[in-house]
Amino acid sequence: MSLPLLVFFILAATSVAGALMLILAKEPIHSALALILVMVALASLYLLLGAEFIAAVQIIVYAGAIMVLFVFVIMLLNAGTEERTDWSQLAKYAGLPLGIFFMLWLAHWMAHSGVGAAAASSVGTPVANSVALATDAASGAFSTRALSEQLFRTYLFPFEATSILILIAILGALVLAKRDE
């Protein structure tokens, strides 16, 4: 077994274990810590795929900002052990088999649709209209310079639109969280 494959399996096992911990944990704070574990494992997988910038953004924004927000709200609301009700029994008996079925179906579909095979055969052959500098020849990693050029040229308008979105989100969060006088 080659080294990248070994690293992939370790990281995949870590992320799946983290997702299972998120489901099985009774306290919300344990779920939040498990989700941070999943996010760090995914960031390492992005590094393995050569997407260095996305790996850094994943750590800074997801594991840093978003999860801190979650942990803060859990602390603020003093969220303790989950309380169970009658309806959660329905979720247990209907939701669990359905979720597992959905997961297996997706995995089966992806493994047998030829998507993986077709994609694997096209590795290393850039499609005609791709940016010339998409990948660094030496390491095979995606070049951050090419990504920024793509972001600020081809996708400039969506990029500016997201800044409006963030502004609206800030205002919305302020209005919602404000106490009525």
Partner: protein, 102 residues
């Protein structure tokens, strides 16, 4: 350089998305349900990066960037909504939030 088949990443992405769906249906705590949504977004991001690698194109990475930005905005507004719900109902259990008007 990359000897891991792309389909492995896609299967991992499907498994993580499925676990996110299970958590979404299974959990009763409104904050944990919100975290399940974040898990599903992460699983989709992994598929995006895997496809970007498979086709050697950067567009997939740009999409991941936008997904992360939207997730950040969604987390801010969503947690503000959670705060309002908890202030009104004094419970984090979604089964107790079964009326539009309280």
């Amino acid at each position: 350089m990359n000897t891991v088949p792309i389909s492995y990443y896609l299967i991992l992405s499907a498994v993580l998305f499925g676990l996110g769906v299970v958590a979404f249906v299974f959990k009763r705590n409104i904050i944990t349900i919100f975290m399940a949504i974040e898990l599903m977004l992460n699983a989709v991001n992994l598929a995006f990066v895997a496809f970007a690698r498979a086709h050697n194109q950067l567009d997939g990475l740009v999409f991941v960037f936008f997904v992360i930005v939207v997730a950040a905005a969604e987390a801010a507004v969503g947690l503000a909504i959670v705060l309002t719900i908890v202030r009104n109902r004094e419970s984090l259990n979604v089964d107790r939030v079964n009326q539009l008007k309280f």
